[in-house]
């Protein structure tokens, strides 16, 4: 049983690491987002392995379901980075890799390997897990971790406000949202007129919109 668990863990861990590496190395941003979803799935599987079924389900529902859709939407609505041409790595990545490996090999790995990871023995059958079940989790939220729970609420509110502040523009400055066909048309036009110098992307629609707003 031990061996099976360890092999499963190894497979999942390798899967997560590969997926995470792909997230930061593939050129297409949408592919990166898809790899991120795979990575989230792997983490969900890890939770399952740790017998935290509730967390695993929540992980799949929220991260794989909601967060990744949000990321994909954000990518699709951000005009400039949908293309293939985004480079995520600089030319010096081998140097960085070497430094990181060196640090990991000299400091982290020896400490972590020499540590005797004393995993507490499993409780007898029938006793509830300390915090894995939803009922225990809920009780923890309103008892021991009440302050933290409330602070998370405030934190999420702040993040929401921040997102609105960044994304929301006053009406006069707002850019007209174009359909995909219009975007492509605009892009084609721009390439025709100035093939060498990339035109300022934002300029044209903004000017048009603000002019029409002031005319109104």
């Amino acid at each position: 049983m031990e061996v099976v668990v360890q092999i499963t863990f190894g497979v999942i861990a390798v899967f997560i690491l590969v997926a995470a590496a792909m997230v930061v190395s593939v050129r297409n941003v949408i592919h990166a987002a898809l790899w991120l979803i795979a990575c989230f799935f792997g983490v969900g599987a890890l939770y399952m392995l740790l017998e935290a079924e509730f967390l695993a389900v929540v992980q799949v529902l929220i991260y794989v379901g909601a967060v990744s859709v949000l990321i994909l939407f954000a990518i699709m609505l951000t005009r400039q980075i949908t293309g293939e041409g985004v480079r995520q790595l600089t030319n010096r990545w081998p140097v960085v890799l070497a430094i990181a490996t060196l640090l990991f090999a000299t400091v982290l790995a020896p400490t972590l390997i020499n540590q005797q990871w004393n995993v507490p023995p499993a409780p007898p059958l029938g006793t509830p897990e300390p915090i894995a079940g939803p009922a225990e989790l809920g009780r923890g939220f309103v008892n021991e971790f009440l302050i933290q729970f409330q602070v998370v609420g405030v934190l999420l509110t702040v993040a929401l406000i921040g997102a609105i502040v960044i994304a929301y523009e006053e009406r006069a400055r707002r850019r007209k949202v174009l359909t995909l066909a219009e975007e492509l048309e605009l892009k084609r036009l721009r390439e025709q007129t100035s093939p060498t110098v990339p035109a300022p992307v934002e300029a044209e629609p903004v000017v048009q919109e603000s002019r029409s707003a002031s005319e109104r």
Partner: protein, 527 residues
């Protein structure tokens, strides 16, 4: 376990939350006109609500702390005394709330410092205003203050991390708030990226410490309280490399937040790009909160690996801090010398000041309990004076930047002929930063050096004193620009009321606390 009677002990935090929501909500009810006059009206109403509200929260916190007025036991029972009695029963003292939030004197004093700094910042923001989303701008300042108040009382990893995030996220947004200015946008993005990475480092350290503690517990059944600082300290006393690694990661993560060398590279750019009142806020309140959290983390979580400030025994967090303090004091001061932008210059100067505060943290590890108490008192006194001074200096700079169109040294030229009172107020702040008697900055530095010397970190004190003399050069350069160099432009600079009040608070505080330090030391010694 959280109890209803704990609510009064969290009163300042709850009031801050209510105030933030009030500012957000009242902005919706304002008239959202398109004309500049209507927009100005909307900004002004949010700004004044914030300033007044923070003033009231500060008043309640002062009353609750009982440092200025303590209700005598024999007071008659009536409506007003009952209010005060109930307030003060939630004052400093008692066990941490639910094991997570300590409400001791340290928290109370730090809360007063932070809410005070937020109040001065909001006074500055009365005159340096955002162009869009005013309600959110002022609410974010209050949310950040709330985060700092939680940070100084945090007694548990989870709350500490959440409080850091609650502090940082509004500050990232505020630093990049003036989006029409590319500098500000750059500052916001840079601050966010560095902050995210430092949070990751900090979290890694915390998880390592948690793992080490779990290791020490063995087969205990309930380990839900294992994230508390003192519990981790108990269970990791005998574990070796892992907890050292955790300590290093935590110090590095906090070091990024505090901008000590070698984790400082973000701070000059962010300080330069952010709106100046926000720079004042970042460089004072968030730094003070960070130092107090670092103090709690080091002394409660890692008491077994303290080491000694004389460094006769190698290892321990004192050795790490000594290296950080040395680098910070030397590089911070030397890098400030060639700066031509005043905001960058003050940014490096505040890096250097962080080095002096680390020296105060070192003194806490001294062998004698007397030296330890002195170390903490000196540290708090330094944080108070430094916050007041820096708020004043950045406040004056905000006004100069707004009215002369830039914050290079050339913009300071001839300020004494353009507005003498402003130049004098700015001068007091700069002289206090430089540590000229009889201002507060002198006594704060003297006190830190004294406790550092007594605790045995003599070589570090010597270097710090030498670097203080070096720092005189760049501080005096500011004065030279203001008083001696000829003005290129003689249009007078006006001094609006909000910034004037903030500067007056700062300068009076620096002067009074410098001449009569006992006024505040008697309170600080209760920690």
């Amino acid at each position: 376990m959280f109890q209803l009677t704990d609510i009064p002990r969290l009163l300042p935090e709850i009031l801050l939350l209510v105030l933030a929501l009030l500012v957000l909500g009242s902005d919706i009810l304002e008239r959202w006109g398109r004309t500049p006059a209507a927009q100005l009206e909307r900004v002004k109403s949010s700004a004044s609500l914030t300033a007044i509200g923070l003033g009231m929260v500060l008043f309640v916190a002062l009353l609750q702390s009982g440092y200025i007025y303590r209700l005598p036991e024999t007071a008659p029972v009536n409506f007003f005394t009952n209010i005060i009695r109930n307030l003060q029963s939630g004052g400093p003292g008692g066990e941490p709330i639910a094991g997570a939030f300590a409400t001791d004197h340290l928290t109370m004093i730090a809360r007063l410092l932070i809410i005070g700094a937020a109040l001065v910042t909001s006074l500055l923001c009365l005159d340096v205003r955002p162009s869009a989303h005013p309600g959110e701008f002022y609410a974010l300042i209050i949310f950040s203050t709330l985060g700092m108040c939680l940070m100084v009382g945090a007694n548990e990893f989870l709350l500490a991390y959440l409080a850091i995030e609650l502090t940082s996220i509004p500050l990232y947004l505020l630093a990049g708030y003036f989006r029409n200015d590319p500098r500000s946008a750059e500052a916001g993005l840079k601050y966010f990226l560095f902050g995210a990475i430092s949070s990751a480092i900090l979290l890694y350290g915390m998880s390592l410490a948690f793992g080490a503690a779990l290791n020490g517990v063995g087969s205990a059944t309930n380990f839900n309280d294992l994230t508390r600082f003192d519990r981790i300290g108990t269970f990791t006393a005998s574990s070796g490399g892992l907890i050292t690694l955790a300590m290093l990661f935590i110090v590095a993560g906090m070091g990024y937040k505090l901008a000590v060398v070698p984790f400082h590279s973000w701070s000059p750019d962010v300080y330069e790009g952010a709106p100046t009142p926000i720079t004042a806020f970042i460089s004072t309140a968030s730094k003070a909160a960070g130092f107090i959290l670092l103090f709690r983390l080091l002394t409660k979580t890692f008491p077994a690996m303290t080491g000694s400030p004389t460094l006769d025994t190698a290892g321990g967090w004192t050795a790490v801090l000594a290296v950080l303090a040395l680098l910070t004091v030397v590089i911070g001061n030397l890098a400030a010398l060639p700066q031509t932008n005043v905001k960058r210059l003050l940014a490096y100067s505040s890096i250097a000041h962080a080095g002096f505060v680390v020296l105060g943290l070192l003194a806490w590890a001294a062998a004698q309990p007397f030296d330890r108490e002195q170390g903490l008192t000196a540290l708090l006194y330094y944080l108070f004076i430094y916050s007041l001074t820096n708020l004043g200096a950045f406040g004056a700079l905000a006004l100069i930047g707004q009215q002369t169109g830039g914050d290079d040294l050339t913009h300071l030229r001839g300020l004494s002929r353009r507005n003498l009172p402003l130049a004098l107020l700015f001068t007091v702040c700069i002289l206090s930063l430089a540590g000229i008697p009889p201002l507060g900055g002198f006594f704060a530095k003297f006190y830190i050096f004294m406790v550092g010397w007594q605790s045995g970190a003599t070589w570090l004190v010597v270097i710090a004193v030498v670097m203080t003399i070096v720092s005189l050069y760049y501080y005096l350069r500011l004065l030279k620009a203001m008083f001696i160099e000829p003005a290129t432009d003689l249009t007078p600079v006006s001094l609006p009321r909000g910034i004037g009040a903030a500067l007056a608070i700062a300068v009076v505080g620096v002067l009074v606390l410098g001449i009569f330090p006992n006024l505040i030391l008697s309170v600080l010694e209760r920690v």
